[in-house]
Amino acid sequence: MTPEPVNPPDSTPELPDGIQVTFPKGLLGFEQLTAFLLFEPKDGYPLKFLQSNENSDVSFICIDPVTVKRDYQVPLTQEEAEALGLEAPEDALILTLVVVPEDPRQMTTNLAGPLIINVRTRIGRQIILSSETYPLRCPILLQD
């Protein structure tokens, strides 16, 4: 086992210039869009940005859900792992989508519909978790 690399907070080595990710089934509600660029926008740490190649109007702000819920886990079925070509857990990048309302302090992230991306095969998929497990609208900022 190699030790976990320690990354300075202003870089994401796994996404130096972004990666092209294919979602064979699209995202729910956007099933026709399958090709996306995932990158960390300039001054965007700790967020990532998922931009459709096919429709410039479709993009998503993504966050590492562990920053919101420390014990967050996605139970993958064997079928889902196979569809992603996942062989090792460290190949899986887990992101959740951020919804930013008019008052951005009220932003939430959808923990019930995470994206799993195999960074090795660059195939992604939106997983549907049972709504009892994780909330659809989990507040990101602690409310005063």
Binding site: F30, L47, V98, P104, A112, G113
Partner: protein
């Protein structure tokens, strides 16, 4: 749409490998059992629609990602004091 009347414990088979069984009927609803291969995803429609609605809401952000990120970074610095 195909409409079929089924009684409790009766079932229908879809595509040869998916079976939907009526387990029971009460005044609150119908209990269904679904036998399907692992490759077939089975979800309540509301769950699908709720996630699709959140996806659509997520694309509608008018706030630049840098502004959102700045809010988050500021909050992270504050966290140790608020907890």
């Amino acid at each position: 749409m195909l409409v079929i009347t089924r009684k409790p414990e009766q079932s229908i088979v879809i595509g040869g490998e998916v079976e939907v069984i009526v387990l029971g009927i009460t005044k609150d609803g119908v209990r269904l059992g679904i036998k399907a291969p692992r490759t077939v995803e089975v979800h309540r429609r509301e769950v699908f629609e709720a996630i699709a609605a959140e996806n659509r809401a997520a694309t509608a952000s008018k706030v630049p990602v840098q502004d959102v990120a700045a809010l988050l970074r500021a909050a992270q610095v504050r966290k140790p004091h608020t907890r």
